[in-house]
């Protein structure tokens, strides 16, 4: 079986669904002839034709708005926003229309679209190319927000996103695009949505993260295991709607929770997870919940981005703090 990078897995999922379902169309800036600036859509235009792989004008409002019209008329558009920093003109369309159409029409018109976009920092990118603003989107009712943390999950979750009957924001951790390879069976099997993935079991502390930060989180878990500390590592994967039950079940076992995300701290998704665990699992907690996050600052340009992003040392320190709490 082939070992794929995350970006290759995204490409395989797109190819699979386009071959299986003629209603799937791809649109975005540079997704056609060029195959996307990260090559997520490489070869699609050549294989499926320019009428199914649309190089759009440079207009993000249009990309999202047009995908809504396509979806309402029965297509399955998979639109790419080139970088998350350019998604904000599309926010109006997502918030006011894509997520509301089903409810407004009592199910008469629906909006099965996928909006893919690179997410997060750590790739020495120019300004506006490194932010992680998922919490802006997890606040939107009616939206699904997904983020894979490995090639196999990218493949399976993207298939699930395309087949889902509702709008999905599919965040792709840019830093992981080519960082790791993994065996991915290109068999068209989707992964379940609205559920966390427990990547590693452990008795002492629950580490919850998503996207690229799981790379550091798993590395921290490795380092801590050498000191006899057993971490349970959870990949949230579907950021909205949130599968709090899996996280709560783990916390009830370990009694300790550390949440890791690269987005800024205040109002980040970690705050929502912490609040829900506080509401439902307070008596299971043996220590205050810790959050290891980016800072409440502007994401710095790349000379300082490592100082912004959580790393193994910060995660390990937070874990030790929960273990040492008296």
């Amino acid at each position: 079986m082939p070992e794929l990078t995350l970006i290759e897995a995204v490409n395989r999922a797109l190819v699979h669904e386009m071959a299986a379902d003629p209603s799937v169309v791809v649109l975005g800036e540079d997704v056609g002839v060029n195959g996307g600036v990260f090559r997520a859509t490489a070869g699609l235009a050549q294989r499926f034709g320019a009428e199914r792989v649309l190089d759009t004008p440079l207009s993000e409002t249009l990309i999202a708005g047009m995908a809504i019209g396509m979806a309402a008329e029965g297509l399955r558009p998979v639109a790419e926003i080139q970088f998350m920093g350019f998604i904000y003109p599309a926010l109006d369309q997502l918030l006011n229309h894509a997520t509301r159409l089903r409810n407004r029409t009592r199910g008469r018109l629906t909006c099965p679209l996928v909006l893919r976009t690179p997410h997060g920092g750590g790739i020495h990118a120019p300004e506006h190319h490194s932010e992680s603003t998922e919490a802006l989107f997890t606040h939107i009712p009616g939206l699904r927000v997904l983020i894979p943390s490995s090639p196999a999950r990218a493949y399976g979750l993207l298939l699930a996103a395309i087949r889902d009957p509702d709008p999905v924001l599919f965040l792709e951790p840019t830093r992981l695009y080519r960082m790791v390879r993994e065996v991915v069976e290109d068999d068209g099997s989707a992964l379940p949505l609205d559920t966390c993935f427990v990547l590693r079991e452990g008795p002492d502390v629950t580490l919850v993260s998503w996207g690229a930060m799981l790379h550091e989180t798993l590395a921290a878990a490795d380092a801590l295991s050498e000191h006899g500390i057993g971490c349970e590592v959870i990949d949230v994967a579907t950021l909205k709607p949130l599968d709090i039950d899996t996280i709560l079940g783990s916390v009830m076992k370990t009694g300790r929770l550390v949440i890791i995300h690269e987005a800024g701290r205040s109002g980040g998704l970690g705050a929502e997870i912490a609040a829900q665990i506080g509401e439902r699992g307070l008596l299971s907690l043996q220590a205050p919940i810790e959050r290891v996050t980016g800072y409440d600052t502007i994401m710095p340009l790349y000379r300082l981005e490592k100082a912004y992003l959580p790393d193994v040392a910060r995660i390990a320190a937070a874990v030790k703090k929960t273990l040492e709490f008296q």
Partner: protein, 357 residues
């Protein structure tokens, strides 16, 4: 030394002038008196509805309502030019077009009366609901048109927007894409001269709104939007052009918002009453009635019959609207997703329990 590299002009069409006199012969297909009477009837039914809706709002039986007073010819012309299988993407002042397509008066009342069921149209199942964030639906129209073209269907998307909406980027982005891909979509601008309190002149320095199409590489033209014959004819040409695979176009319909922006607005704060009075003399309904009467295609008895019929229709719609009880509170969860995520079950149950108590 410079040379001219491109030439543009904006055509203007009118068949019936302000006094209801023909300024040119009616086009083929609009000479049949029955066709003209049908257009007239839609406009009168719409105005009867409009007046009743305002009265309901004033008496606390309807929420904020946006009147289409004085602009009925635009919707009537657009509605008549479309086929049932086409898709209308309306703004919030396009009742005449919606009624022509089978949206019911009860549905429109439900919408402004605070009930989502008012957007679950029984008849035009593919039509979009009223769009409140102006111009944002023009991008949807491009997507709908793309889907039609992609499947090789001879269908057309028609989006109606206001003069204010032409200042938004969405509108340019939609027209631009429609031009690039030669999409079967028609953008109809209801230029009623006022975007709440901002006048047409304060909205843009452009001489016409139609010329905004030129920048997108699609044809743009102007019609007298209070002349239903002109609207029906030119929007019809644009729709059939799109249906024939020749792409998108824009029709700017010159009209006037005789009423307030909505029932929550008071236009006397910012408009000269003389201007409104002058605009009232260009009324689309009186204009066509004058013509029909003089041509012998309409009588006082016809008029009385129509008004009585429209009043009865509106009364029936109001009865239907007022008789329909609100949905149970937990219905707000019903169409949030295709199936409710597990994580929302607790909230749904809490709402249901609170409403049972």
């Amino acid at each position: 030394m410079q040379q001219s590299v491109a030439h543009f002009e904006i055509a203007y069409t009118q068949f019936l002038d302000e006094a209801g006199r023909t300024v040119q012969g009616f086009p083929e297909g609009l000479r049949d008196p029955a066709t003209l009477r049908a257009l007239y009837e839609v406009m009168v039914r719409t105005r009867t509805f409009d007046k009743k809706a305002i009265a309901l709002q004033r008496t606390g039986q309807l929420g904020t309502f946006a009147s289409s007073l004085g602009q009925e010819a635009i919707g009537a012309g657009v509605g008549a030019a479309m086929r049932p299988e086409d898709v209308l993407l309306p703004s919030y002042r396009d009742y005449a077009a919606q009624f022509s397509r089978g949206v019911t008066m009860t549905e429109v009342l439900l919408y402004w009366g605070g009930d989502e069921r008012g957007m679950d149209y029984e008849k035009p199942r593919r039509d979009f609901p009223i769009c409140v964030p102006v111009a944002s639906h023009t991008c949807h129209a491009a997507g709908v048109a793309f889907a039609m073209k992609y499947r090789g269907e001879a269908r057309v998307a028609v989006s109606i927007l206001g003069d204010g909406a032409t200042s938004k980027g969405d509108f340019y982005e939609a027209m631009n894409a429609a031009g690039v891909w030669c999409l079967p979509v028609v953008f109809v601008v209801n230029n009623n001269q006022w975007a709440i309190s901002v006048s047409r002149r304060a909205q843009t320095a452009a001489e016409t709104l139609a010329q905004k199409a030129i920048a997108a590489g699609i044809p743009g033209e102007q019609v007298d939007g209070n002349d239903v014959v002109a609207v029906r004819e030119r929007v019809g040409v644009a729709i059939e052009r799109a249906r024939a695979g020749q792409g998108a176009s824009l029709v700017e319909c010159l009209s006037y918002r005789l009423g307030d922006h909505t029932t929550a607005d008071d236009a006397s704060r910012y408009r000269d009453p003389a201007e409104v009075e002058a605009a009232g003399r260009r009324d689309p309904i009186e204009r066509l009635r004058g013509y029909l009467l003089r041509a012998g295609h309409w009588s006082t008895a016809d008029e009385e019959r129509l008004l009585a019929h429209a009043a009865a229709e509106v009364d029936l719609a109001v009865t239907g609207y007022l008789a329909l009880p609100a949905l149970p509170p937990e219905s707000m969860f019903e169409h949030l997703y295709a199936s409710l995520p597990q994580s929302l079950e607790e909230q749904r149950r809490a709402v249901a329990a609170a409403s049972d108590a």
